[in-house]
């Protein structure tokens, strides 16, 4: 599905602006997997990730008129995915969904990436993070938002963002190291 990205994406923008269904579908086919990859990091399980993906794309197509060409179209789409993720998180908070940590471990349908198993493990580590930490870690480390931006989007202070990030990192470091040790132990005997 990873067809020639940038060119395809930008050239589809006009079609999407016109509401042309074919362009929309092509855009989805072009970027859908990547965006699902994004959503998987934010969602608590694969089903929620796909919900986010669907909502995100619907929003993209409905709001495409608002895209003014600052930055790349793909970047804009990604931001919409993140926003959708935040909304979902908030909704979950409100309905006080208690997620059993064990439930978070969810086998995605199909994943392909460059380095075999490990990404899957890392993904599970991210998913195992408590919701707020996960959000901040994803937004800061992978999406590249600043603490200020995170604060604004989540309605928290910069300081809160920073501290949540460092807690997230601490948890992840510990688990990654354990994982590496484990792998090492297995391989070395």
């Amino acid at each position: 599905m990873a067809i020639g990205h940038k060119l395809t994406t930008d050239s589809l923008l006009d079609g999407c602006r016109r509401g042309d269904r074919k362009s929309q579908e092509l855009l989805y086919r072009s970027l859908g997997s990547k965006m699902l990859g994004v959503c998987l990091r934010y969602a608590k399980d694969h089903y929620e990730a796909e919900d986010m993906l669907q909502m995100g794309f619907v929003k993209v197509f409905q709001k495409v008129a608002e895209f003014r060409g600052e930055g790349s179209f793909e970047g804009w789409i990604r931001r919409i995915m993140v926003n959708t993720a935040i909304e979902t998180y908030r909704k979950n908070q409100r309905s006080l969904q208690v997620v059993d940590i064990d439930e978070v471990y969810d086998e995605p349908q199909s994943m392909f990436d460059m380095s075999g198993l490990e990404t899957k493990d890392l993904l599970n580590l991210i998913k195992a993070l408590p919701g707020g930490y996960r959000l901040v870690f994803n937004m800061y480390v992978i999406e590249g938002y600043s603490h200020k931006e995170i604060g604004e989007k989540l309605g928290i202070t910069e300081g809160a963002s920073k501290s949540q990030l460092s807690r997230a990192r601490a948890i992840l470091k510990e688990k990654v190291l354990k994982m590496e040790d484990h792998n090492y132990a297995i391989h070395v005997g």
């Binding site: 269904r21 929309q24 997997s33 990859g37 993906l53 669907q54 409905q62 608002e66 995605p108 992978i142």
Partner: protein, 252 residues
Amino acid sequence: MSDKELDQLFQSRFDSFEAEPAASLWSSIESQLENKPGKRAGMPVFWMAAASVVVLLGAGLWLFRPEEKVYLKGETVLAKVHQQPAEEIPAGTPAISTQPAAETEPAESNPVRKAVRVKKDEYLAAADTREKEPAVQAVPENQVLFAKAEEPVAENDPAPIMALVAAEEAPHSRRGEVHQTVLAMLPPEEEAVGEKPLRERRKIRSVGDIVNFVVAKVDQRDDKLIEMAEDDEGTKISGINLGLFKIKSKKR
């Protein structure tokens, strides 16, 4: 492991991370798009409806804040002698008038303003349900006399909010402009005593009157679902009663 190393580990792994969505996902997207065709800025109708409700409530609340200050009206004079309920209002009693102060009833005019309990009349058709005289009459004075409005209300005694008095009986309904004027003081605790906004009586002069008329026909409670009153700026909502939620303007 440093922060940087951790970050880089995750960044590099997830940069190219993709996963294939379910095959049916596109059709779900498509059907959602079809449900809302021609949506440009993507503001669902729901949000617009919600927004308008909020705006209306906000406007209602805003129009209706408790007033802490005193109203001074330039030239409106209310003069009415309001006797015991049983009494008919003497024919000569003017109801509300916007005539300049000079026309204050000689017999009653007092430069001193007395705040009194005003008997609130029910609006038009609902006059029958209303009459809370007893409660209102609990107060010794029943006379509402307003002198020139120039006089500051300030030092008025514990008197309650003064309100407009509308003519009781049809024949005595207001003449000319019924311009309600309020010289208001606000010890809020006084409000409890049978305060009801005055109503224009027989004449329907504005949208507010129509609203009041209709509501009065239907709503038998003392505090109507919605009440409209006129002030110098036009018709405003002076009260809302949704059962759990009640607001009443204290301006009157």
